[in-house]
């Protein structure tokens, strides 16, 4: 049985529509709650985690050792966790200037990352060893999946011995580039920035968000997009139709064994996002139940992924591991259905039949 595919969702929100609720169902602080309760904390966490990563990269290249390599790998794992949570804010600062793709180019069904990173290594391309020039190169060679290959892929052990200074300098530059992007995102969500002002105080004079419905629409799309991406771009293609057709190397970050940590972080990020809205406290009982149900499913999927103790590659081939993945996939599907069928109505938005991307 195929694990699941998650459908796209687009909602419409035009107040002229007679089928919309007459009263906004969300409070005036909706955007501010998200910004203060989730976006600002998580962008700050990501900025700090990438700063640590960049520092550990510098340290590794200055004084190579197994401990220094281990330290950089641990910093990378922390970055993955905070990234997984931040990535759910797939709008505004994170999507401008292709920041999402530069941070985490995925999916990569044709193996572009591996091919291009290996080319950079083989050619010892000097533009890859400073963050500024690396940022100008292909997005496939500068994000977290590329850095993961440098830290865990074939030849990574030479980082510990100092025998591959080029690779180390490339990894350090990649870390610094990630931190630069993290700071840009942090700055754009900061209190006082244009984006923060538009998101937290939407108004008729704002170009970006004119009212809270538009902010709520962004929130719902963020939920739906993340669930779809987690399932259809990250978990589903690797899990395949069955245990027999699983292909774990199609999962992101399998080399570092961080796949499930990444996926769990997406779900945890969504749970934090939903919690930050305070919808459970502000909506009526029925609508609050929808939110509770959604959060329960997000947490269940997250916990199922985190409970897998088998290494990533083995887990996809292992009956017990695959069963947990299937459960996580089903639960992500339930969460997606809740968002589609219930949450939109609970907060006063209307589904569009014709507004899907790509048609």
């Amino acid at each position: 049985m195929r694990i699941l595919h998650v459908a796209t969702l687009i909602v419409g929100l035009f107040s002229s529509s007679p089928v919309l609720a007459d009263e906004p169902l969300i409070g005036p602080d909706f955007g501010r709650n998200i910004a203060d309760g989730f976006a600002i904390p998580v962008t700050t966490e990501f900025s700090a985690a990438t700063e640590n990563l960049a520092a550990s990269g510098t340290a590794l290249c200055t004084t190579p050792s197994p401990q220094a390599l281990n330290s950089m790998r641990e910093s990378f794992a922390d970055v993955v966790t905070t990234w997984g949570e931040l990535s759910v804010l797939r709008f505004g600062p994170l999507t401008s200037e292709n920041r999402y793709e530069r941070l985490f180019f995925w999916p990569d069904p044709r193996g572009v990352i591996l091919r291009q990173v290996q080319e950079v290594l083989a050619e010892q391309e000097s533009t890859a060893t400073s963050a500024d020039t690396l940022a100008e190169k292909s997005i496939a060679v500068q994000g977290m999946p590329a850095l993961e290959y440098l830290l865990w892929g074939s030849g990574a052990e030479q980082l510990a011995t100092g025998d591959d200074a080029f690779r180390c300098n490339y990894a350090a530059a990649a870390a610094e580039n990630l931190h630069g992007l993290a700071v840009e995102i942090e700055d754009r969500w900061r209190e006082g920035s244009d984006f923060h002002a538009a998101f937290t105080e939407p108004g008729p004079d704002r170009e970006l968000y004119r009212d809270n419905r538009e902010v709520a629409n962004e929130f719902v799309k963020a939920l739906a997009t993340t669930l779809q991406f987690t399932m259809n771009a990250e978990l589903g293609p690797a899990a395949g139709e069955s245990l027999e057709t699983a292909a774990p190397r199609r999962a992101p970050l399998w080399r570092s064994d961080l796949t499930f940590q990444l996926l769990a972080a997406h779900l945890n990020g969504l749970d934090r996002l939903v919690a930050a809205t305070q919808l459970e406290d502000t909506l009526g009982l029925n609508a609050a139940t929808v939110v509770s149900t959604l959060r329960f499913d997000l947490q269940s999927a997250r916990d199922a992924l985190l409970s897998i103790e088998t290494p990533v590659e083995a887990a996809f081939y292992d009956a017990a591991g695959w069963e947990k993945l299937r459960y996580a996939g089903l639960t992500i599907g339930y969460a997606n259905t809740t968002v589609h069928d219930m949450l939109t109505g609970a907060i006063g938005l209307v589904m569009g039949f014709n507004a899907l991307d790509g048609d």
């Binding site: 035009f14 044709r110 997005i139 048609d359």
Partner: protein
């Protein structure tokens, strides 16, 4: 597949009866009966429906899954209903209901994007398809005169081809290459958002040769060219979907003439904003001098003068996307909320208000004859 084919006599009787009921209050725009075809959802079922100019059902045929658009032959005798992308079916329909629908063969290594066109003599059908493992767009060629076989394919010169239409010369096919790389294993995921190269491509349908590829300036590389219509003067008009962030509000309507650069046309800022970076379909009026673009996400249809490129106005139609030529300065329009209306730059006449129990019309409405 279940069939509800009816015989030609029944069909014509139905058509005559429906037309007879529409005389009251109806200032006829056309001397003859015009018929339209669209895909729609009724409850959990999908169907292709032929309606008249007043939006009345004339013939309904079931589809196995959600449909998208249709190719219609020059005589209005046959149509091919395409599945919504990533589509796995295309069905040849007899529009007089005289023969059973026939499923066209599907290449297991390809999927449909939902659009296609007949060649001028009606013998061949051309469909936009995804050669997904190679990551390139192709036009699949089907012999619909003998055996309904897939007899070949040729490149579209880009990725993610969406709508393709036959030019008035009867020999050139123009294709909107949306530029978005997709793969059915990654449902709904754009694989090349940062590296899109949309284009408008002209192909010779007799040789498959790529004749010309028109592209947008690099700054607009995320402006996906998707839907097409030809105006009376032979220019190709296209509607776009912007894949970049909502802080960007590029123009969504363009015009191209062979051998020239693409021209883009703005709408007033508030109109452009309401369109929400998304045009779902494009059509011209009967005279071919007014271009209409529907934005279901914006719940609206906007109009341009096909000669001057001047913006003419807009009408609200919630989740409206089906638009097809009706009269001068008017289009028959359908919505995902069941509404049917006559719309134009200065006109809005509701034929059927939106209704939760009514069929939900999908993206495209096509003029049959």
């Amino acid at each position: 597949m279940r069939s509800t084919a009816i015989d030609r006599r029944t069909f014509l009787a139905l058509a005559a009866s429906a037309l007879g009921q529409t005389s009251l209050g109806w200032a006829s725009e056309l001397p003859s009966q015009a018929l339209y075809i669209g895909a729609r959802r009724v409850g959990q079922n999908y169907e292709a429906a032929i309606i008249d100019e007043r939006g009345k059902d004339q013939l309904v045929l079931p589809l196995e899954d959600r449909g998208h658009s249709f190719a219609i032959d020059a005589e209005g005798n046959r149509a091919v209903a395409f599945a919504r992308s990533p589509g796995r079916f295309a069905v040849l329909l007899s529009l007089d209901g005289s023969t059973e629908p026939v499923a066209l063969p599907v290449d297991p290594e390809r999927h449909f994007f939902g659009h296609g066109a007949f060649g001028s003599n009606g013998r061949l059908l051309f469909a936009t398809e995804n050669d997904y493992d190679a990551g390139r767009g192709v036009i699949g060629v089907y012999d619909v005169a003998g055996g309904n076989r897939r007899i070949g394919e040729f490149t579209t010169g880009g990725v993610g081809p969406h709508e393709a239409i036959l030019m008035p010369d009867g020999r050139t096919l123009v294709t909107g290459n949306g530029g978005i790389l997709t793969h059915p294993d990654y449902d709904g995921i754009d694989l090349n958002l940062a590296d899109m190269r949309p284009s408008l491509a002209y192909s010779d349908i007799e040789t498959g040769d790529l004749l010309e590829v028109a592209t947008l300036p690099p700054a607009l590389h995320q402006l996906s060219i998707r839907h097409l219509a030809v105006s009376a003067d032979g220019a190709v008009w296209f509607g776009c979907q912007h894949q970049g962030p909502r802080t960007e509000r590029p123009p969504l309507i363009g015009r191209h003439r062979r051998g020239r650069d693409i021209e883009l046309f703005f709408a007033p800022p508030d109109v452009l904003r309401q369109m929400d970076n998304y045009v779902g379909s494009i059509a011209v009026d009967r005279s071919g001098t007014v271009v209409a673009a529907a934005s279901p996400r914006g719940g609206m249809i906007a109009y341009w003068d096909a000669t001057t490129g001047r913006y003419l106005g807009m009408q609200q139609l919630a989740d409206g996307c089906g638009i097809a030529p009706l009269g001068e300065q008017s289009l028959l329009s359908t919505s995902g909320r069941g509404a049917i209306a006559v719309t134009g730059p200065d006109r809005f006449e509701s034929l059927r208000p939106e209704d939760r129990t009514a069929p939900e019309w999908d993206h495209h409405l096509r003029l049959v004859i």
